[in-house]
Symmetry: C2
Subunit: 206 residues, 2 copies
DNA sequence: TAGATTGCATACCATTCGGTATGTTTTTAA
DNA sequence: TTAAAAACATACCGAATGGTATGCAATCTA
């Protein structure tokens, strides 16, 4: 069984994440958080030592979910085709699917939210953020490296910056999507990225 | 003459922007801000009605500077060549130049910082953010539209999402740059975007 | 040069903040 | 069934917060 305590803890994390993506970490007080959940301080401090503990648990969960989603999508892509290039294109398509059904803008990336108030967090929390990007970059650039050995790119590109480009698409699109209040920006930018990958690796002239 | 008051006001704005990009708007208290400047509350509240007034003045200044930089760069590009495609490529190159000399990561985009705590700000402040993206998008998509009439793209792309892509590159790259503490990510992503534009508009096959 | 305005400092205030101490109820396990 | 541990609630605290009221010296203006 999940346990009622664990359920409450998850409820706190969910609500905290939603509120942080709208008001920022420093902008979400523990009072406001628990009030919006109908809880009290006793409940909060039973599940978290302090506010920084909440921040760390939250970004840990978000980073783990992100890496898990990536692994799942990559595994699915690898089952569908053997060619690394097609694997990557399928992988991008799988991410597109996630954002296809959204009618409202994606609430945002918690990592990005933290990055824009980095000094609010302790070293451990900052390390989690860094780690997530480093791991994603490593896995992605490895795949792109495989692509390059089979499909010579028509321009001189390095796999690491191309991997960064994939993550950058999300981060950039989320910000535009939030400020312009348009849900489909993320998909459009993902499609552009996919087109770019295609153009780079499917023609060896120019 | 600039006036001593206006000079102090600018000092406050400069320091506030730097601190907000590191701690977020809610994370920067007026006390910390004025203390880091060696000023007092009297000084702050002489120049700003309240904290929200600071926020509005700050984003107004940042947005104006951004649009001005864009206009300047576009004007320079238009003087250098008559072809809209080349104008855009030169424009991107001019932005590259700005980030070429940076040894540390760009401190970040104030608009993005605000976007991740949007609910902290009043309607007027949020409107400025929206306006900046809308205006940039309009100017850019207009130029890209001109490109498309002369250079038929090899893929079916729309100018608005391509314009969004340009802004998105900055926003995404800044986040990666800050979290990974690497200064050259922005340039690399700008180069990728430029390559994408080249590939889209210089090949009419596939 | 008198008066008014600007530019800033000092002192203070009500509220909110993160956090603690101490309960009380509910659930779990022997 | 009962003890204990978990899951919450209540009440409180010092510090930090945004903001105000007031004072005063410098500067500008008539």
């Amino acid at each position: 069984m999940a346990g009622k305590g664990e359920e409450t803890r998850e409820r706190i994390l969910d609500r905290a994440q939603a509120m942080i993506l709208e008001c920022g970490y420093a902008g979400v007080s523990i009072d406001k958080l628990i009030q919006s959940l109908g809880l009290t301080k006793g409940a909060f401090f039973h599940h978290f030592r302090n506010k920084n503990d909440l921040a760390r648990s939250l970004i840990r969960r978000y980073a783990d979910q992100g890496l898990e989603l990536f692994s799942d999508n990559l595994a699915r892509a690898k089952k569908l085709t053997d060619d690394p290039l097609q694997q990557f294109l399928v992988l991008i398509g799988l991410y597109e699917e996630i954002f296809e059904d959204l009618t409202e803008p994606y609430p945002g990336c918690l990592l990005a939210s933290y990055v824009y108030e980095l000094q609010q967090f302790d070293e451990q929390t900052r390390a989690i953020i860094n780690e997530e990007f480093v791991l994603s970059r490593a896995e992605l650039s490895k795949l792109i490296g495989e692509i390059m050995t089979i499909h010579p790119p028509c321009r001189d590109v390095d796999p690491v910056s191309l991997a960064d480009g994939f993550m950058s698409v999300f981060e950039g699109a989320f910000i535009l999507s939030k400020s312009l209040d348009e849900a489909d920006i993320t998909i459009q930018q993902l499609r552009h990225y996919k087109t770019y990958i295609e153009l780079i690796f499917t023609r060896s002239d120019v």
